[in-house]
Amino acid sequence: MKRYKNPDIFEPLAMAYALGTLHGKARLRFEQLMAKHLYIRATVQAYQQKLNGLAELVPPQVVHARVWQGIEQQLNLKAARPSFWSRFHNQLTWALPSLAAVVAAVLTSFLLNQPSKPQAYVAALKSTQQQNQLVLAMAKHDEMTISLDMMNQNLAKEHDGMVPTLWCISKKKDEPPMRMGTLEPSKQEIALNAKMWKGLEGASEFAISLEPSSAGSQAQPQGEIILSGSLHPLAQ
């Protein structure tokens, strides 16, 4: 057993183990040593980290959707999702496409000359996963509607069985998001009532989540946030 304390003995074995060329009884014997000795485990791990960098060179292959479905089912991930706020804030760290930057610049120029009471709000909602996905939303006081420009996307079709739902996120972190309505391919307008308009005054963001069609009208988002963007007040 003493000889396994000699790096000239155990290091080559650790490398062979990491590479996968240690077989049969030799492998079993080495695994017993690993279980006993931290330094052998650490050496194996170090070589695994070095050699497994070769995985970076493998050309990627498309994975069937059933693999993720199996993982999600086995881990019960939908039930164990982080809180809405945690998800929302994580998404704010995503890189923004240049188109969104242009929209933001245009919106800023509007903001320079506005009176005290906004008559409209606009937002460019950016995808959390696809950099080229964008939805523009405009809430108008005189029409009491939110008009959505889906940029030729059909979110409902892309996410079968899920209903894209628009939420208004308050500037106050302790206030829950306000459900504004669902997005439908045939009707890209959401009617506003006085309470919803009032809610926009204290809002910082619009967000679109995917809600299960069977869930009904939930008071808070239950599904994944797919798009979000800052809300900008406009004067007319």
Partner: protein, 180 residues
């Protein structure tokens, strides 16, 4: 876009959304690695699924000082595949339409552009591998990507078993000195 390292760290805090993003960004490469190791797409899917479940459960033990997230995940998935290979009584037949033996992607295909995208550890490893004799290098790469045993390598390269074992042993010794 969040880096794989950041996503894996967030998985350690049980962030399901980060896990999904991590899967989306890393599974194509890890799946390709599984396919090469086990030579069977259905089995590779099983291994990938089991591997990601382990990744989720063990993500809290990952830290940046343990290296790149992809490498860490490749270790988990590859160990899973090697365990399955050892349990199997026989190795699956190679699918006739798929060239699972090629190592081109790990040699000629490495352009200077690709090289700069690789982690520094992997760049160092590739530089060290350049110093190996071609037959040592091929044996090590075949063992890594295809899980080949000494016997399989001896057969495919039409060389005595002892010769192949010596190539691998000396190749690993050289790598050890170079990586130290």
């Amino acid at each position: 876009m969040d880096s794989l390292n950041e996503l894996l760290l967030r998985c350690g805090r049980q962030d399901g959304l980060a896990f999904k993003q991590l899967y989306q960004q890393s599974s194509p490469k890890l799946y390709a690695l599984c396919c090469r190791l086990v030579r069977d797409q259905s089995l590779a899917e099983d291994i990938l699924q089991e591997g990601f479940i382990k990744i989720w459960h063990n993500a809290a033990s990952y830290s940046i000082d343990k290296g790149q997230a992809l490498t860490w995940m490749a270790t988990v998935v590859r160990n899973q595949a090697l365990d399955r290979l050892r349990l199997a009584k026989s190795r699956p037949e190679i699918h006739p339409d798929v060239d699972y033996e090629s190592l081109e992607f790990a040699s000629q295909a490495i352009t200077p552009d690709l090289l700069t995208q690789l982690s520094s550890d992997t760049q160092q490893l590739l530089e060290c591998m350049e110093h190996l004799k071609p037959e040592q290098r091929e044996c090590i790469l075949q063992a890594f990507y295809y899980g080949c045993t000494h016997e399989e390598l001896a057969e495919s390269m039409a060389r005595p078993l002892g010769t192949v074992k010596a190539w691998i042993r000396r190749g690993l010794e050289q790598l050890r000195n170079c990586l130290a």
